[in-house]
Amino acid sequence: MLINIKRKARVYSPWIFHAHAGGCNNCDIELAACFAPRYDLERMGIQLRNNPRHADILIITGPVTKQISSSLRRIFDQVPNPKVVVACGSCALTGGVYNRDDGKPNYALAGPVEKLIPIDVSVPGCPPKPESIIDGVMLALEKLKEK
């Protein structure tokens, strides 16, 4: 029963930290829309925290530039366990429009998020709609319950 309460509390109050790792800022705007009046994720007790130490879910947007890669790794380590990582948008998943046409590596990228830290949930789209971000968060909750 105690484990039940623990799981319940975990699913009922996930706090999100949003890490911006380069890119065009559009995913960030869509993520902000999730907490605005129309979609308001706080209905389900989900809060946007601006501190990785308070977070349960780490949402990463953008193709991870070389400059930000070490900071991103540090932010990942600062989130206490159990944690779930959500990669949000095509850039975070593959590099998106920042990949070169001729297949050579882009000089500014440290690769998509997957190369640096393990991803649990991926939300495709350029940018993903708030609905799909909410869907991604709900999938992340399922993973969080099992961790």
Binding site: Y12, A36, D40, E42, R43, M44, N51, H54
Partner: protein
Amino acid sequence: MDLEDLILQTAILTSASFILGIIYNYEVRKISARLQSRKGPWLIVPRPLRKSLGTTRIFQPLYDIIKLLCKETIIPSTARKRLFIAAPLIAFLCLVGASAIVPIGGYSDLSSFDLSLVALLYLLLGVPFAFILGGSVSSSPWGILGGQREADLMLAYETPIVIGAFTTAMMAGSMSIKKIQVAQTLSLPYLILNPFAAVAVLLGIIGKLHLKPFDIPEAEVEVVAGPVTEYSGKLLGVIEINKMLLTSVCTGLFVDLFMAGGAIPGLNLHSPVTVLTYVIEGLLVVAVASLIHTSNPRFRIDQTLEWYVRTPIILAVIGLCWAYILRYIYPTLSG
């Protein structure tokens, strides 16, 4: 009163004020969400979602606390470990003492002792000190900045609370919270007799609870989370518990000193109805506080200090003079 009774009563009062604090904090979140045309945590979850999301979210702060208490705690390697762990626990102990003194609808034997008001004010002073300590030893620049801001802010908001609280003590002719409460049932609630002191104390309490115009120490975006920045997991859970207790203790202090602690004239002070009116009056006070919380942007620290000297402290002094004047005009109304 022997020790066993004391411990039992403290436990009961602390858990009661914890539950009240959860409901008050839910109210703050809900009212501020509604005023921003959001929904806020659901009071009643829509039927199709009930299986996965529960039936009600009125205990949302409690879920947050349980979740935090089950999480991993990271202690920064550069922090002073013992003080870092001790700081939230010191604040917790102070608040347990404080919530044993504040009577809930007249139920608290400790409140009838002389000087219980002074003891309560000292215990409440311990909370910001522990807050500053936690931030300062966390070795994070944000923590130190937040602690410094809290130290400045504390000077500003404690003054109107102390002057206003002693004004009520003067009007009742006693330093014991119980006697102040009883004196109000014999005449009128001090909210009506002395609104100046009441407003001053309410403004001080808003500063103490770090609600919006005065959330300078833990200003998000500016200093990340202030002294709480480096706290995570279980210690953050203790800090959240402290927040709940502080909300209900401060609200309870206001209700007891200015609204007769929920007592209705003609009814016995120890009837269960008093507890009900106490809770309703507490909800009203929190509603007013959260209206101010939502409709104001954050002040800068220098603006806050200036504003506190200009408005609440002046109001508190006027209230003090008003109490003197009242004594001469209506000697029967005050002790």
